[in-house]
Point group: C2
Chain length 342, copies 2
């Protein structure tokens, strides 16, 4: 039977149009069908503008929407939102995965509530794939958990390793612990204690890595708590634009610079595409007992399409089953959790 | 009497040559005299290559050096290192300030040991001035304190406010608390509790700011713990180079891009200068009871000169006295500390 992806038509800054067009593009690149979730009437109206294989697309009505700034606790109560209804579809096995470019906190909260956690996982995490000089790096947690225990970070590391192994195709992913110094013993209390745990696990742990090594590709998975992950990601996201703005004001100073910049401009565009989240398409929620991929709020149609393709692969590969097994098989993790319980 | 700046001749990747030439340049731009600290014989030899006003330069011998990778605890024991001897000169009032581009952890440790803390300050911090779209922003702590209490962050905020007010010249500096969301209530435990403290202080507190607002100039002072500060700084420092590398590989793809890039290249150089630490010249240690400015390890002569000029201004303005008064006058801080003591 074909895979089915439930898509939140009202998630993201450019919803519903880019969501619909991105999702329709995805069916040309995969054999997974699309279930649009949202205001049925409006979706039917919008779909009239497109040509597509009608057998592969269906609609499930949801009258409410979750805004980008809505508190997760409030979003949880909106039982008829496109997010809640979409996640329920996956929960009830009417779809294989849910994709949204909406409010990530809300998606996390509803997923947690409806899917529950994968057996053995204490804290699910948001993972983000970032470009590096020679490929990509998975950073987690990117914002779900602000105050963590060492075993939370170890769970993040295990989940990240599984994700990169199967989704990116790196056999023994190198795991780095984000810290303020590369030597063992560097870090805050959380990182120092986590270093010890990581060292004793069977992960391919390469030690602490510093901020300036995130984008060099030194590690395949970079682990940190969600507070640090969020700050690092947002700082990184803003810098290309900041640098471009600095550059623009310099370029204005001479006609030659301007001409030169115009000639080289396509290279800048290629660059922008390379570092664009749209190419990477969506951060998976790792650790919830259901498949959910969260796209960037600014997702364009291409980003939506890529997030859907990622959700298809994630479902087909049964990543969550693999995570459950890996967590259960990590003796260091199990011992540590037992010690905490007593 | 003229101000005297003790300069660590053996601090930094390019020491001793850039240190000597930078320091000699500084005496042309200020009336402060220079005391070179390091191996006297070698310094005498090096100085022969320069023309300068001999009355304004002296040498104090120190036979040992502290390497960039030396543990602060080991550096502390080297009583005859250029760092220890230089800091002692300031302690014993034979110089007004100490400048080094060496191992910042060691400089911090020796300063703490010899200078002690400013009365009322629990934890000194390393502050770093960064460029923004419309000026600069002071980020602290940039690495000295990895696990903090809310009142530590409040002290950082007060010290940062004084620094920016007098050294940068902004009357009522806007203070932002680095967090994973701008709304009140966002953050980890430390940030949420600090938010409350900051709100009740008389600081010009503008609330939480996210990573993507550090470089927009939304705040004049950004406060965080030293772990987060270090990771953010190192990530930021690495990104221009990462982006440049991405760009280079795109530019290679066409002759037109190459020509364009060559034409616009001086603009890139101007940009590099703008975001260069050398222009900003040195991070002050705030909270130690003596004047100490730490330059970037990669400091060139210009960066050394600017660090020295900053140290002169810092001494002339009696920043440390102003910090002591501001800390004593902050009722919220005093109350909070009392509550912790009981």
């Amino acid at each position: 039977m074909a895979y089915k992806i439930a898509v939140d038509v009202y998630g993201g800054d450019k919803a519903p149009d880019t969501v619909i067009s991105g999702a329709l593009n995805s069916i040309q690149e995969s054999d997974a069908d699309i279930v649009f979730v949202g205001k049925e009437k409006e979706i039917v109206e919008k779909l009239k503008m497109y040509e597509f294989d009608k057998k592969r697309v269906s609609i499930v009505n949801a009258e409410e929407t979750v805004s980008m700034f809505e508190k997760p606790s409030l979003a949880l109560r909106k039982k008829d939102s496109s997010m809640s209804v979409g996640i329920k579809l996956v929960k009830n096995k009417n779809a294989n995965a849910f994709v949204t470019a909406g409010n990530s906190g809300a998606a996390m909260a509803i997923s947690m509530f409806d899917f529950g956690r994968i057996k053995g996982v204490t804290r699910p995490a948001i993972a983000t794939l970032l470009p590096t000089l020679n490929g990509s790096v998975l950073l987690l947690d990117a914002g779900a958990n602000v105050d963590c225990k060492p075993y939370n970070l170890l769970e993040f590391a295990i989940m990240g390793a599984i994700y990169v192994k199967y989704m990116v195709g790196i056999k023994k992913p190198k795991i780095g612990l984000l810290s303020n110094g590369s030597e063992p013993g560097k870090g805050n209390k959380l990182v120092i204690e986590s270093y010890d745990l990581f060292s004793r696990s069977s992960l391919n742990f390469i030690g602490n890595i510093e901020g300036d090594d995130i984008y060099t590709g030194k590690a395949d998975v970079v682990v940190c708590d969600g507070f640090v992950g969020n700050v690092v990601l947002k700082t990184s996201e803003s810098l290309p634009e900041v640098i471009a703005n600095f550059l623009k004001s310099e370029i204005k100073k001479s006609l030659w610079y301007k001409i030169g910049f115009l000639l080289a401009k396509p290279a800048f565009r290629l660059l922008a595409r390379k570092v664009d989240y749209a190419e990477f398409g969506g951060a998976p929620l790792l650790g919830v007992n259901g498949n959910c991929v969260i796209g960037h709020g600014r997702s364009n149609a291409k980003a939506i399409k890529n997030a859907i393709l990622k959700a298809v692969k994630f479902s087909q590969l049964n990543i969550n089953d693999k995570i459950e097994k890996a967590v259960a098989n990590c003796i260091v993790l199990q011992k540590c959790k037992k010690a905490v319980e007593f």
